[in-house]
Every structure is written in C-alpha cells, then in structure tokens.
Symmetry: none
Subunit: 233 residues, 4 copies
C-alpha cells in the first residue's frame, strides 16, 4: 500500500474503528461465551459477564443473539457443527486404510475439539441437557447425529472393504466414542480437582484406546473385544 494514501482511502481500506469492531462483535461475543459456558456451565453463566468479557454492554449481546439459548447454539455451531463439513470432505477423499482413517479421525477430533475449549461444550451438554430440552434437541441434531453418522461411515467403510470384521455399527460407534467423551468430560470437571500426581496424559490415553480399538475391530484379531454386539455369529 502506498504511503501517500488519502484520508478517504484510509477510510475505505481500513474500516473505521466502530465499523471494524461491529464486524468483530459476534466473534468476540462467541469467544467470551465459549469460555464462560465451559467454565461455569450454561445456567450459571450470566449474560452480563459474557458481555463484559467481550468488552460490550449487556444490551449489545442481545442485539446479536436474541437470547442466551441462541447464543449457546451459535457457540456450538461455530465450534463444533461447523466442522463436520470439512470432516465429511476429508472422509470422502481419504485414501489410506480404514484403520488409518479411524486413527486420523480420532486424532483430528482431539486436535480440533478434544484439546480445545470446545470439549467443554460436550461436558456441558452432558450435564445440562436435561434442564434445557430445546438445547438438547438442537445438540442431538447438530452434533450427536452428524458425529454418529460420520463414525458410522468410517466403520462401514472398513467393513465394506473387508478391513474390519462385520459388526453392529451402533455398538462400534459407542465403543469409539466412550473413551473420547470420557476424556473430554473428565478434563473439564473432576479432573480439575484431582491432585497433581494423578493427571491423565491425554495423548497416551488416546494412543492406548485407539490401538485397543483397532485390535478389537480388525478382521483377524483373536480380540478380547468380542461381545455379541460386535462379533459375527
């Protein structure tokens, strides 16, 4: 950019402070809301505090989000459901083995969700779903279902290609989900109160779970992981 730009040029190029902030508002609010929802839960988070942390007034929050529930939904969309499209695309173009795909999927979850504040949303939904049915339905529809479907497709791919043994897919999904969601939940709750000596190392924890999982899913494993739900007749 030339050094001799006129005032009007500046005005055109660098948006006026107010305008720039205006565009940034929703993002700042979403970031503040994510933090606070994760810290305190949905019910215990006060709208005013979200606003304050985003550097705006209480009224402004309701200018962008018509209610606390809508704010929460926006947080979920921004941080979780928005990512499913990319994941689906990655799945469609993935070229390695299904075991690699599963490993990749889990690590992607960890990096993009589990290891970020977004994991707190999962914990939060687990605890408050009961009190906010509309939120629960929304989450079920926007997150649980797509996540389920994605994992299903991963497993189905393995089965179709003869890499995984035939299985009850739903059971398989939960078997993958369980250790991940436990990790996300624990990290954001009682894990915080535990002593310093008994801290989970998530990377190792995940590594173990993945290998155990694959050991159970792989076609020829004399696997320990063989309940009726997963085994072939």
């Amino acid at each position: 950019m030339s050094t001799s730009c006129s005032i009007s040029e500046i005005a055109a190029t660098v948006p006026a402070k107010r305008e720039r902030r205006k565009d940034a508002r929703p993002g700042e609010l979403l970031a503040a809301a994510l933090e606070l929802f994760v810290e305190k839960g949905f019910a215990a988070t006060r709208a005013e505090e979200v606003a304050k942390r985003a550097g705006v007034s209480k009224g402004t929050l309701f200018l962008y989000f018509s209610s606390k529930e809508e704010l929460f939904k926006a947080v979920v969309r921004e941080n979780i459901s928005g990512k499913f499209d990319a994941w689906n695309a990655e799945f469609d173009t993935f070229e390695g083995s299904s075991a690699e795909l599963l490993r990749y999927s889990i690590h992607a979850w960890w990096e993009r969700i589990g290891n970020t504040k977004a994991a707190g949303i999962t914990k939060l939904m687990m605890s408050e779903a009961g009190n906010f049915p509309e939120l629960a339905a929304f989450y079920q529809h926007e997150v649980i279902q797509p996540g389920n479907d994605l994992l299903r497709r991963v497993l189905q791919r393995g089965v179709d290609r003869g890499e995984f043994r035939p299985m009850d897919l739903q059971y398989g999904v939960y078997t993958v989900l369980a250790p991940m969601l436990f990790l996300a939940t624990w990290k954001h709750s009682l894990g915080l109160c535990s002593g310093t000596d008994n801290i989970i190392d998530p990377e190792q924890y995940i590594a173990v779970q993945v290998e155990t999982l694959l050991n159970g899913l792989n076609r020829r494993a004399d696997a320990a992981l063989t309940p009726q739900g997963l085994s072939t007749p």
Copy 2:
C-alpha cells in the same frame, strides 16, 4: 405373626401414623432429593419440589436438613460414601484371583451404583463441581479419594501377587474408571436423548471393557494396552 394378636400387640407393632411418618421423613426426602438432583442437577433443583415429591411442605425439608447443600451431602453419604466400608471389607476377605477381584469390583459398582440413580450423582458432580466448591471438596474427600484408594488396592494386590504386571497405579486407576464413568454419565445425559435404536447395553459394554482391561493388565499379555505409564521399564 400369629393371627390372634391382641389389640395391644397391634399398637406395639403398627406405630401411630404420625410417628411412622416422622421416622420415614428423612428417607423419603433423601429419595426425592436423589431423584431430582439426578434429573435436574444441584442448582436447578428447587427445595420446594423436593419437598413436594416427598409429600411434605417446604418447611419440613429444612426441619431435617439445614440447607440444600446439607441435603445434597446427605444424599451422597446415603447412596455412595456409605458403601465404601462394605467394599473395603469385601476386598479384605476376597479370596479369588486379582482378575476375579477386579471383575467383581466392577460388577459390584455397576449393580450398586452405576445401574442405580446414584450414578446420576457422578454426572451431576462432573457438571456442577466448579460452581459449588464446598460440594466439590466434600465429594472429592468422601467419594473420589476413597474410590481411588480402593481401586489402587485392587491393582496393587494384583501386582504384589504377580498377577498383574508392574504399572503406574494412578494411570491404572483411570483406565478402570474411564469406561465406567463414561457409562454413568452417558446414561444420565445425552443417552436419554438418543434414538431408541442406538441404546447401549451396559452389561455387554462392561463385559468388553473388563476383558480388555484384564488383557492389558495381565502379566504375560502381549498387550495392546501398553503406554509408558503402564509398562515396565
């Protein structure tokens, strides 16, 4: 009892109505409180509703429990911490192999906690610990710590007897805990919203986890379950 009991016998046996209710009150209140805490969480449970469900008035609740927090603590003692003594005793007199002891412990947890409303308490603490520090400290002290200690002793027993491989005990404890707590959490939260076709069968789920676990813990397993934290140097 003989069919020819005199009136005085009846009087002795069937307590006056008021008397009977008085004795039953705390139990009725604890039962109602357990249900509601599990359904709605601590903060969202209203004292008045607990009272109503127990069939008494608001004031009566505070006759027996000096505050909502004390009520909650009583619920925890009644349903969880009260059971550790029995478990410790069972542990001390258990005569089978350590694998059997672990299996037994986990199934006992499932039957006495995991498969009852008490499991909801675990979920609840996971979500609300942050907002009620005193409750969190209480739970840590009354439940987490004793549970940890008990599991540690089980694992230590196996290691001492040469049945389990040497391991980082704390990591081992979490490895046992994870699938159980996930189960308890899921059942009482998003599990409720899931469709009817993708229901977890807890018995099978547990069976799988236990065997996987033992596979990982056993001395000679070429175990998949071998992170640094658990392996021998």
Copy 3:
C-alpha cells in the same frame, strides 16, 4: 414436718413433680421470655427459644400464652405494671417531705426496674412500639400512663404542700423521666458496645440527676432549671 410421714402425705404435701412443674410453668416461661425479649427484642425473639430456655416444648408455650404478643403482655404485667399498686400504696402512706418522696421514688424505680432486666423492656418498647401498635397501646395504657400518673401525684403533692414551686406538671414529669429512661435505654443498647473505660456509673448518675432536679423544683431555688414550662406565671 415429722420424719414419719406416709407416702400419701408426701403426695399431698409435696406435689408430684409433674404437678409442681405445671404450676411453675408460666413463671419459668415468663422468666425465659423476659431474658430473651431484653436480649434480642420482641420481633427477633423466637418462640421456640423461649420454650427451650424454659425447658418446655414449643407447643407448651402456646398452651399458656395464646400468642407471642400475649406472652409479651404477661411479661410486662409481671415485671412492671404489677408494681404500680405497691408504689401507689407506698405513696399514700409516705410521711416524709416531697423531696424525700421523689428521691425515694427514683431509687425505688432504679432498684426494682432500672437495675433489673425489666429495664430492657423499656428499651424494647422504645424500638418496637412502631411495629406492634397493639403492644404500644397496651404499654401506653399499662405502664406509661400509670407511671405518669404516679409521678404527677408526687409532684402535685410537693406543689400542694408548698415544697415545690408551681409548675407545668407534665413538663416536670418528663424532666424526671428523661434521665432515668436514657439510663435504662443506654445500658441495654449502645452502652454494651462502648469501650470499658467509658462506663456509666448508674448510682452516681442518678444521684446527680436527682439533686439537679430537686434544685430545680424547690421553691426557693434560683434554679438554672427554669424554662417557661416549669416556671410560675
């Protein structure tokens, strides 16, 4: 009493414990109530605590006094209004000078009321009269008015006998009352919070006030105490 009294004699003479206690009940309750009313005020005194301090149950209190207000009235009658008859009698038979009568009256008040817990009732009425109109009316009728009348008669006697100068009697009454009631009030309120070095010595305080008063009332005093209200026309 003879040492060989039969059991039935005992029963007749020494009332059975239950019966004796029954007769003593109201007195024990009144004593407990006086203490607590003085300590905490009327509104802040809980019926249950009165009962407990009297060693009976809450229900029993309401057996003897139909409400907290009635209890309070009984306390007032027992400790204050009940004494006016004796005072009136003493006044009627008093043979000394009117100055001596006034001195005697004030010291009698101090010994029988001011220096006892009953003084707390005065303080209490000063504070809570506004909130309990019925109590205020009762107190006005049972205590203020008779006290006023009594003092009036004392002053009138002095005037009639030419010992005191002619005066506005009502103003004279207040002039006598003021330092006494201040003392009673202070002792039971902020006097309690003051440091140890600035304690009022009631005897001295009273002595000063009485002499000042008489100085002002006496016929020939070139008294400082000469407002219009008290002076002769």
Copy 4:
C-alpha cells in the same frame, strides 16, 4: 435565562428523563430508606417497600446498594457521619467562649440531626445493635466514636482555658449526651403514642438541659452537679 432559548439550549438544560432519574436514584432510595428505617427499624423494613417508596422496583434497589446492610450504612453516612467533618472544622475555627461553643454544638446537633429524621437512626441503633453486630460495629466506628471525640475536644477546650472545672472527660461526655439522646429516642418511639397534652417542647427541653449543664461545668459554680466523676479533688 433568556426567554428565547433555542431547542438545543433546552436539550442541554433539561437532561433526558432517564438520565435525570438515574442520577437521582441513589438519593431517592436513601431518602425512602431513611424514612422507613426510622419508621419501622432495620429488621422490619422490607427492601421492596423501600424500593416502592422510591418509585422503583426491588431489583433497582440492589443495583445501587448491594445489600440491605449496605443501604443502611449509606443512610448513616449520608445523614450522620458525613457531617462530622464540617463540625470539626467549625470547632477548629470557633472563637467564642467554651460555654458558647457547647451551646452552639448542642443546637447544631438539634438542628442538623435531632430535629430531623436522622434522629430516628440513633433510636434504631439503640434497639437493633444487638441483632446486627456488623451494623453496630460500623455505627460505633462511624458515629459514636467521632461524636465522642468531638464532645471531648469541646470539654477539653473549656478545661484547658480555665472555663470549665477539671473533670473526668468521659463522664462529662455522657452528661451532655444523655438528655440529647433521650430526646431523640423518645421523639421517635413512645413519644409518638403519648397523648396530645403531654408533648415535649424540644427547644425548651434543650435550653434547660444546656443551662443546667453549664451550671455544672462552670469553674465557679457551687454546682449541684458534683459527683466524684466530675468534681475536682
């Protein structure tokens, strides 16, 4: 102001309605609170009623004062403790005799406190100090102590200048305080219930007390007012 003021002038002069109310709120609330505290006492005054009398809702009150106790403290600061600075300044620059200073002090108290609603605060503290220890401590620190100190300095000035006889200062302070506080207390309590014929005229009452006091304090008085505490050895 000219009669031809433009619209913008009006806008500048008459603040927006909302704005004006906002600035006025604390004052309106303090005024309403003072009235009600004086009428009913601290405990019996309901926050909602204060709000209603100030023309706002319950919530608004707590927007300005974080609790009922803080509201009360603010009332005390506004109406009493806030005046000590001015009094101390007046004392420092006073040029007349100490007798005049004392007269002036007492009349100033009467005009600025005793004859206003603020006098009710004194009565209120006398009655409720025991039930609200934190308030009592606050009042002791913010009012009693400074008041004591101020009076002490007045008396000390008289003694130092040889105008007053040597005396026990603390006793002297109480001797000045007593009739004033009685007046304040009586006016706001039983004085309200008394018949119309026996009303105290405060001005006269004060005049008498002041002269009696000076009579007792003055160096050469053959004073009636001579207890040990006040007399010279």
